[in-house]
Subunit: 190 residues, 2 copies
DNA sequence: CAGCAAAAAGGACAAATGTCCTCGAATTTA
DNA sequence: TAAATTCGAGGACATTTGTCCTTTTTGCTG
């Protein structure tokens, strides 16, 4: 739980006692490689902090292709947010790229925390704001860079993902084809 | 203020009395065409609801080009969120595309509202969650569609913006060049 | 360890998009 | 109103990226 405590402390001021008080609401859970944390069509009742491992979020587009929209690594949060927030069926699946350890909270328990304390209201709001800013960055950057620029950025910012995820998934995450990614990789290695 | 009240009611349950109670914290303001609501380098002390008009958000990339990251139309919120939330200098400018009427709240007043009531904590969190979901949609969609698909989507979802904004700004919003946009428009009209 | 299947690399060509430029129309300013 | 400026359309060519395919490599399973 230590890493999760540190994560929360990076968001809001939080004493160890306060953390201890609320920690019973959180459960730890392990996902084996390729198993799912959320699935398309099923309502997502949990949000998670990733203690160890890597998760891939994807949806299915009109051409029935998997499109990877996010890689979430250690010390980050993951959830099918839309589904979790609205408690409606998920449009996203979240799958473990490797064996992964999670710290989770259920929707119901989170609502209890929100009612119990302004602290949690604050954490909830700060996290939403934070996720928004990350997504904003991702959006504006990826839409205005060339395939090579996007790959170079990923190499810089998410080197661990490059090593663990498949070429297919990396390409769809960057919005390019496998063929283009292959060309870029060749160009870089020489 | 009526449209703003309706907007809030679409987010959280809110009685007319509650709205009246807090409405003194909000100011109305008019921006003339081409004037700024936020500017790069200046800390943004206000967030706004757009009563009427259209705003364009942009940043300057490494090649010193303006990149339009967002068009915000009537009945939506706008802010240089990162700057507003963190109270650090803005990386974005927000400019009026046409004469625009805003309902604004200052950072300080919003903090007072957050302290005063769980209702506003809730509104703040819900809005952040909402903004996140909008951005997520924008990101995943724009990064995996062709130039033409992106333009067609914009034509469908933001027809008013197409009519009001310049070709340059629309192109940079879609992450394509003017030349490509010109080609797409020609192709569509015949 | 051999054989199979899945994943990645890459060839050949096609299509999409970008770059650089010119021209005419629209808009602003003196 | 005339001149100046900005803006949008589009020609010609270069570059990037995609499509379809085959070959090579990797990893798994019996």
């Amino acid at each position: 739980m230590e890493s999760f405590k540190l994560f929360l402390k990076s968001i809001v001021p939080l004493s160890d006692q306060e953390f201890e008080k609320y920690s019973p609401y959180f459960k730890t859970r392990t996902l084996t490689r390729n198993s799912y944390f959320a699935e398309i069509g099923k309502t997502s009742h949990e949000a998670a902090f990733i203690k160890k491992g890597l998760l891939r979020t994807y949806y299915i587009n009109e051409k029935s292709e998997e499109v990877t929209s996010c890689f979430c690594a250690e010390n980050n949060l993951t959830a099918s947010y839309k589904s979790f927030i609205s408690q409606l069926p998920s449009e996203l699946s979240i799958q473990a790229v490797e064996d992964t350890e999670l710290i989770t909270i259920s929707y119901n328990d989170l609502q209890i925390l929100y009612q119990k304390s302004a602290l949690w209201q604050n954490i909830g709001r700060s996290i939403a704001e934070r996720q928004y800013m990350v997504m904003e960055q991702y959006a504006s950057v990826l839409c205005n860079e060339s395939a090579k620029e996007k790959y170079m950025r990923m190499l810089e910012e998410q080197p661990a993902v490059i090593n663990k995820a498949s070429v297919n998934d990396i390409a769809s995450y960057l919005g390019i084809t496998r063929r283009t990614l292959s060309r870029i990789r060749k160009e870089i290695t020489q």
